[in-house]
């Protein structure tokens, strides 16, 4: 209860604001239509019409919910109109990409912390790599991989990994360098091999950084997957759903897909958060 109440309050506040915004943003269209038809609108008319448009500027919350509900529960989950189906397609690529990206980020961070040469040469280019607009090269990646016969989940996972490795890399380079002088000195007196320093000191003390990065990384992986789904020929996945919704101006469908994606992201972040709580507790660091 203690946890639900604040969330409910905030959600309620947002819903109220949202309805207000929906009336405000959608009213222009209602007035325009009335002007074209040469009629007047009353306030009651205005409100009821702004909430029931087929292509609203901002759909009302209940319209989005209805769209979500229809997509989730109104279809067989194997149907191409089911958000569960599209969500699953996206989720599987996201997870694959996240695992790949996390591994890459971790390995690079470990390398950078241990090798001066890597620190000096890789880091600037890792940064540069992230400034390449992904949407610009995603189609090329997809095209090149497709011509090599690689299709489906793998190209999407690669693009997801490309976006998610960077937050992990930046966070972990910091985290792995977080131990203070005395903690490092202690291990020096034992002449500890680097692997053991990593394992027994650097990794444990990087945990708060790791989890903050993982949360960002998993969200980034999802964005990557969705981006990759756009040029993947608008087939399946929440990204394809968003795109086709946009293409046909079906605002409600866009918002429903958007919410499905956000729910997915929130769930993934929550999973990482739960992992964090468990780990920190076991490490006696929970507060």
């Amino acid at each position: 209860m203690n946890r639900i109440l604040p969330v409910l309050t905030v959600v309620a506040a947002i819903v109220v604001l949202w309805y207000g915004a929906a009336v405000w943003l959608n009213s222009k269209w209602v007035y325009d239509q009335a002007a074209r038809a040469g009629t007047e609108v009353t306030t009651a008319q205005l409100i009821s019409e702004t909430m029931a448009q087929e292509r609203p500027v901002l759909p009302a919350p209940h319209q989005v919910l209805a769209g979500l509900w229809d997509g989730v529960a109104g279809q067989k989950i194997t149907s191409k109109r089911s958000l569960v189906y599209h969500g699953w397609v996206t989720l599987s690529a996201t997870m694959a990409g996240f695992v790949l990206g996390t591994a890459a980020g971790l390995i690079l961070a470990i390398g950078i912390v241990h090798s001066r040469a890597m620190d000096m040469s890789v880091m600037p280019w890792a940064i540069a790599s992230q400034t390449i607009p992904i949407l610009a090269i995603a189609p090329m990646v997809i095209v090149v991989l497709a011509s090599l016969g690689i299709k489906g989940l793998v190209p999407k996972a690669i693009i997801a990994a490309y976006l998610s490795f960077f937050p992990i890399l930046v966070g972990m380079v910091k985290g792995l360098r977080a131990p203070d002088g005395m903690q490092l000195d202690l291990l020096r007196t034992y002449n500890t091999p680097r692997a053991a320093v990593l394992w027994k000191l650097r990794l444990p003390s990087s945990m708060p950084y790791l989890f903050a990065s993982l949360k960002v990384g998993v969200a980034a992986a999802l964005v990557g997957t969705i981006v990759a789904e756009l040029p993947a020929g608008a087939t399946a996945g929440l990204g394809a759903r968003l795109l086709s919704g946009s293409y046909y101006g079906q605002t409600i469908q866009i918002w429903a897909a958007l919410f499905a994606a956000a729910l997915l992201a929130a769930a993934l972040v929550a999973v990482v958060g739960a992992l964090e709580a468990v780990t920190l507790k076991r490490m006696g660091m929970a507060r």
Binding site: K80, L230, A232, A236, A240, R241, Y248, G249
Partner: protein, 306 residues
Amino acid sequence: EEVKLQLKWVTQAQFAGYYVAKDKGFYKEEGLDVDIMPGGPDISPTQVMAGGGADVTVDWMPSALAAREKGLALVNIAQPFKHSGMMLTCLKETGIKGPEDFKGKTLGVWFGGNEYPFLSWMATLGIPTDGSAEGVKVLKQGFNVDPLLQKQAACISTMTYNEYWQVIDAGLTPEDLVTFKYEDEGVATLEDGLYVMEDKLKDPAFKDKMVKFVRASMKGWKYAEANPDEAAEIVLENDESGAQTEKHQKRMMGEIAKLTMGSNGALDPADYERTVKILLAGGSDPVISKAPEGAYTLEITDAALK
């Protein structure tokens, strides 16, 4: 035998002929196994061809000729679309009555290889597109028709078979709108044709495969023209995103049929010459700088239609 076909856009009735041919087994009858790859806003069919990702692609001629000039030797092997479906749709309330009223207005245009017809038209009209006072302000139009509905643009690009109806579905009536069809303005360029790489055509086996492919595809197109509702349903079944609606696709199929009507698949050299002329007319910055050579072949259709 396998054929990979790259579409120009997402799965929709615009490509009904190919889906029908696949679904009705016309390809199989020819011994072909066709893989139809949908496109999207970020897929450039020319690039897919350059990367060797497909054997044959559906593209518009302006973009194909421009690519050819850039060194990507695409060749038109068939032209199922006789007419152009492109138009500019304007809000009547902006006061636009004819092309002379465009000055100072904001116009929405598709880019990514689809801007050439528009640029050629403006060049013929002598209207600069740099946003200067006596010219028009050009916006890169996104996926949909919102800029018109939000009045962010006075006119937007639409296709007779697609975006125009989205404007209507949104609640505007034809009376609220003024439309300029490229055909009517005399600047129609050839749309959805089939293109392959020039060097591949030297291979007789490939040529033979394309003959079969074009024959089966045209059979599909003619079937779709005759049975528009069934064709629309076949398209719906093949739409993996599950986003298309039956109403919209059936209507689109009806409009598409008007554009394919009158084509047996063979390119009419007169249409080709007209397109080239329009593209060359682009004032200071024409789409292509000289008339291309070998940009089409009638061999395939000749063999296919025997």
